[in-house]
């Protein structure tokens, strides 16, 4: 992954330059086909290399060992870092493959500790349920984290503050982000491998929606949808900037995702040091051309590598594990990023 030219915390907490505002506004308006770049070039280095590991796994396997091996394979460096894990707990429905499995979250906690992380916390701001405590308890995540003495942060109510955006896909200009996100040295996005009725797929970039507090954006975070879901994905992921991603594709969801789809046994974890590359690789494994997802293609211009030929793969060859997903019936193809 291309190393950002300034530190992550300096990036997310720093005040944005007003000078960028006008240029970006113009760029945003030209996004429907113009050449201008709707991001600050001094903040986002051109994406160069990305490493992704495709790993076979089951929930009964040695998940900690598999995740540790995967993180080592991509060269993850978390020594001494404050790490925030962000699983997908948008809502809970017993029997539905909506959430990142708590066993995988625990495995990631243990793997990161084994790799020398200074601290590991887990945070989420569920988008449908105001009662995070219910989601986390009912899903089993609360008890699982207690077993490994890992703190959970309810990012719907935790301390948060506005940060200036350095991307300009929406008109938001500013996001409220939890301190848990801005003060972390490393954010690891841990999505469930799912189809999505509007975005096509919901993976490590879309999972960043769950970093935003509902007490500002609501339940659901409808303001983000009205800004254009793809535009919002780009702005939010560009602000959160996950350093790593671990996709729960052991049991995934196809069809009418991300809530009402059908569980699908895939048996894979996908781990990487570039969330764009992880999402592109995962999309490919799901049987979708990553270029079909406009936000992913756009993210490949500034946030990471979306070109599959430029991603260094470890573990399984993605071509050999492609397992086509039933797409969400309402997702008809490439969205128009200019269509808010």
């Amino acid at each position: 992954m291309g190393r950002p030219p300034i530190s992550r915390r300096a990036f997310v907490r720093g005040a944005g330059a007003l000078a960028a505002f006008g240029a970006a506004t113009a760029a945003g308006l030209r996004l429907r086909g113009g050449p201008a770049s709707p991001w600050d070039g001094d903040v986002f280095a051109p994406p160069d290399r990305a490493h992704v590991a495709v790993l076979r796994a089951s929930y009964d396997s040695d998940l900690t060992g598999i995740v540790t091996d995967g993180l080592r394979a991509i060269g993850a460096n978390v020594a001494g870092a404050r790490v925030l894990l962000k699983p997908n707990m948008v809502e809970y429905d017993r029997g539905a493959a909506i959430n990142t499995d708590p066993r995988l979250v625990v495995a990631a906690v243990e793997a990161l500790r084994a790799l020398g992380a200074g601290s590991v916390a887990v945070g989420e701001a569920p988008g449908h349920r105001r009662d995070t405590g219910y989601v986390v308890s009912a899903s089993g995540l609360a008890d699982a984290l207690k077993d490994v003495h890992a703190p959970f942060i309810d990012m719907n109510i935790s301390r948060a503050a506005p940060v200036q955006l350095h991307t300009y896909y929406t008109t938001m200009r500013q996001l409220w982000l939890p301190d848990a996100v801005t003060e972390a040295d490393v954010v690891v996005s841990m999505p469930k491998m799912k189809t999505h009725h509007w975005a096509g797929v919901t993976l490590s970039l879309k999972n960043c929606f769950g970093c935003l507090p509902g007490r500002v954006y609501g339940w659901p975070k409808n303001a983000l949808h009205w800004q254009g879901i793809e535009r919002s994905i780009l702005d939010i992921a560009g602000a959160v900037r996950p350093a790593y991603a671990i996709v729960d594709g052991i049991v995934a969801m196809e069809g009418n995702g991300p809530i009402d789809g059908t569980a699908k046994d895939v048996g894979l974890l996908i781990v990487g040091d570039d969330p764009v590359a992880v999402d592109a690789t995962t999309s490919h494994v799901m049987g979708f051309d990553p270029d079909r997802f406009t936000y992913l293609r756009e993210a490949g211009r500034f946030l990471g590598v979306s070109d599959l030929t430029r991603i260094e793969i470890r573990g399984e060859d993605p071509d050999t594990v492609v397992d086509p997903f039933v797409p969400a019936p309402t997702f008809g193809g490439p969205a128009v990023i200019g269509g808010q």
Binding site: D131, V135, I157, R159, T171, W226
Partner: protein, 267 residues
């Protein structure tokens, strides 16, 4: 049974130095958490903070760049009679959820979490309740909000965040949103109240692991004089005093369930 004093002591820990309440201890004061705490504690210091937080257009909320949250209806229930309340109510009457990005925008609208977005269950419930209690002459807006709650009610009764069906799949009710909506519809729509209360009775035990769900359920059941109210209060006692990381809103609802705050939520 949970003692209001015990919960109130926990809630008091969430107060900021400026007199308002943040979303949890140590967080900066915000309108929604301050309003609920003011209702729960009947607290003038919190009300003074609210008076200083009113926007020029009479509204209350958090500004996040182009996104403006809107908690005015809830805050209105906490404000004393006077100019600040009237300005807030003027805003509530004028504020409406949007159903289309542009072009004709058919009713009903309800109220949204953020300015310019779609109407959803909880803010619509607060809008209806604020107007029923503080400006009952706004008949059209009250009826508009009630119609949103009728249309968004789940097939099995009760409410989730505001979606009856999603892509042809029926969506189940949630306890927390059902409880809040019941405050809005009780005494004005018997059928909606009856189906909502039935859904709440059938679900509150399943969602009692969440303090916020349990506290709102206990408050609503007590408000409705429901036979389950005592059971819910007993479970709440165990949950709220032993839980970690409970935020201001959940503590305020626990206090309201146990104390006199319910009086402020009567239409």
């Amino acid at each position: 049974m949970v003692a209001a004093g015990d919960v109130d002591a926990l809630l008091a820990l969430c107060r900021s130095d400026d007199g308002g309440f943040g979303s949890m201890p140590g967080a900066g004061s915000e309108p929604a958490s301050t309003a609920l705490a003011a209702i729960a504690l009947d607290d003038d210091e919190a009300r003074r903070w609210l008076a200083g937080a009113q926007r020029e257009d009479g509204s209350f909320g958090i500004d996040a760049g182009a996104v403006r949250s809107d908690d005015t209806s809830l805050v209105a229930l906490a404000l004393p009679a006077g100019p600040a309340l009237e300005r807030a109510l003027d805003h509530v009457v004028a504020m409406a959820g949007a159903n289309t990005v542009d072009g004709p925008d058919p009713p009903p609208y309800g109220w949204s979490w953020t300015v310019g977005a779609h109407g959803w269950t909880e803010p619509t419930a607060w809008g209806v309740l604020a107007l029923r209690r503080c400006r009952p002459t706004s008949v059209d807006r009250i009826e508009d909000g009630l119609e949103v709650l009728r249309q968004r009610a789940c097939v099995q009764g009760g409410w989730n965040y505001g979606t009856r069906e999603s892509f042809d799949v029926e969506q189940p009710p949630f306890v927390q949103t059902t409880a809040i909506a019941l405050f809005a519809v009780a005494g004005i729509d018997d059928a909606l109240t009856s189906s909502g209360a039935r859904a709440l009775r059938s679900r509150w035990r399943h969602e009692s692991q969440g303090v916020l769900s349990l506290a709102t359920a206990a408050a609503a059941l007590r408000f409705l004089n429901d036979a389950d109210a005592n059971d819910a209060m007993a479970v709440l006692t165990d949950q709220v005093l032993g839980a970690e990381g409970v935020g201001t809103v959940a503590l305020a609802w626990s206090s309201i369930a146990a104390g006199d705050g319910l009086l402020a939520l009567e239409a």
